[in-house]
């Protein structure tokens, strides 16, 4: 399946991607960020998930199909299927 991606930073560290092809029919958002993180080349680990992997780190804002992830019922366990779009926004602390 193919997940469309959009971000305001380089998702893979040195390059950006606007989609990702996966050999599964569905995947959770949590699993997706683990895959992206594992493929990223940033020197310092850019952790997407908090320590107990129940939420994203506060520097991230994610929309799934235009909907704020934090308002999705299942949060990081939201199921993604073929053609879904995930927007990643990185906002450094105090962003203003």
């Amino acid at each position: 399946m193919k997940i469309n991606l959009k971000s305001n930073y380089l998702l893979l560290g040195s390059v950006n991607i606007d989609s990702i092809d996966l050999d599964v029919t569905e995947i959770t958002l949590k699993e997706l960020v683990r895959i992206i993180s594992s493929r990223s080349t940033t020197s310092a680990s850019l952790e997407y998930l908090n320590s107990d992997e129940t939420k994203l780190q506060p520097v991230f804002e994610v929309h799934v199909n235009g909907r704020i992830l934090d308002l999705c019922e299942k949060g990081v366990d939201t199921i993604l299927t073929d053609g879904d779009t995930v927007d990643f926004y990185l906002e450094p602390p105090y962003g203003g």
Binding site: N8, Y9, L10, S14, T41, L46, P58, E91, P92, Y94
Partner: protein
């Protein structure tokens, strides 16, 4: 008297009446009465969506210039956090030091630099106290984005009861910086000039026509795009001598918006970040219809991704940054300028709490001073 009501302006000579801006404007604040775009004052929130949409680059933001520095005996540059991120990303080493940043601004004619991030921490503390002591109706809507705040005021006035009654980080920064500088120099606060270096037009308007205070302590607002090139040139020379980016000695991680759950009488503060004007509007519409949002605090930003996506940011600084992880780590390790006791004392004094009645803004268009328009 206000010099102007809105920062957003249309260059009628460039405008070809294509109406792209009309379709892009989330507030339906643009019309074409005679084939040229005209901004409707009472609807415009200076979000700047029209600026990026215009194919003719006919829509710009009116900001102040460095020439206005001469109006004040002592000039303080208030740095938006997004500016620092922008310059960090542009630096050959991937990071600049506070001293390099300070020197660059001194070379531009400023006497001092104050990082608005420090004021943001003060605001965050006060807001969290309000939540803890249930002083306002939750979820609280933050006030750091004036475009989002003006959106609430204009389009969703019933939700103004949810806004945190605290001055914005920009406003708090101006007051803190002036007070500190006056104490240090012996000059009066009236001799101080606070210049906010801004990523967006909304902050220009906010300084000129504030919502949560009667009069802004910010004297002038200079667009980041006007000084970016000069700053980059100065910092490039410094950055090229560094081999490795320098991280602060982070013995204690910075607290503030990036910290984990804060105790609120047995619970944690539940934060929700919402950015992008249409996403923000969607959420506010749901709240207006009575939907319960499971959050204590909602951080609203008109620009997707926050201020890094601001219309006056030359280009998204993160799009070409290979090591965002290191950058985030730098900001996480930063020491706060004010300790918890200072924050608590500030909160108890109510120094930065808003008492202004946030009603609808004025109509009519007064005379405009000569300013620079960012395309």
């Amino acid at each position: 008297m206000s010099r102007y009501l809105h920062s957003i302006m249309v260059d009628l000579q460039k405008c070809e009446g294509c109406a792209t801006c009309v379709n892009e404007c989330p507030m339906s604040a643009i019309h074409l009465p005679d084939g040229k775009a005209v901004v409707m004052d009472e609807r415009c929130i200076d979000c700047g969506q029209c600026m990026g949409a215009c194919p003719q680059r006919a829509i710009g933001a009116v900001t102040d210039t460095l020439e206005s520095l001469s109006e004040h005996a002592y000039k303080i540059a208030l740095l938006a956090p997004s500016l620092e991120v922008l310059l960090d990303c542009k630096s050959p080493s991937g990071s600049i030091s506070s001293n390099d940043l300070r020197r660059a601004f001194l070379n531009l004619g400023f006497d001092e630099v104050f990082e608005v991030a420090h004021a943001a921490r003060v605001v965050t503390f006060i807001v969290e106290k309000h939540i803890e002591e249930r002083k306002r109706q939750t979820p609280l809507l933050t006030t750091s984005c004036p475009a989002a705040l003006r959106l609430v005021q204009t389009r969703f006035p019933g939700l103004m009861t949810h806004t945190a009654r605290v001055l914005s980080p920009m406003e708090v920064a101006a007051r803190l910086a002036k007070k500190t500088a006056a104490g240090k120099t012996g000059l009066s606060i009236g001799q101080m000039g606070a210049f906010f270096i801004s990523p967006c037009p909304a902050k220009v308007t906010e300084a000129d026509r504030p919502i949560l205070t009667e009069r802004s302590a910010v004297d002038r607002v200079i667009g980041i795009d006007h000084i970016y090139g000069t700053l980059v040139g100065q910092l490039a020379e410094k950055g090229s001598r560094k081999k490795q980016p320098e991280l602060p000695d982070g013995k204690e991680p910075e607290t503030g918006t990036d910290r984990l759950a804060q105790k609120v009488k047995g619970g944690g503060i539940r934060r929700l970040k919402v950015s992008g004007i249409r996403t923000v509007m969607g959420l506010l519409e749901e709240m207006e219809r009575g939907r319960t949002v499971d959050a204590d605090l909602i951080e609203l930003h008109a620009c997707a991704g926050g201020c890094l996506g601001g219309p006056l940011i030359p280009k998204n600084p993160l799009e070409k940054t290979a090591d965002v992880g290191l950058l985030i780590e730098k900001y996480r390790r930063r020491h706060g300028r004010y300790d918890d006791q200072y924050l608590l004392n500030t909160y108890r004094k109510g120094t930065f709490e808003s008492t202004a009645l946030a009603g609808p803004g004025p109509t009519g268009r007064p005379e405009r001073d000569e300013c620079v328009v960012s395309p």
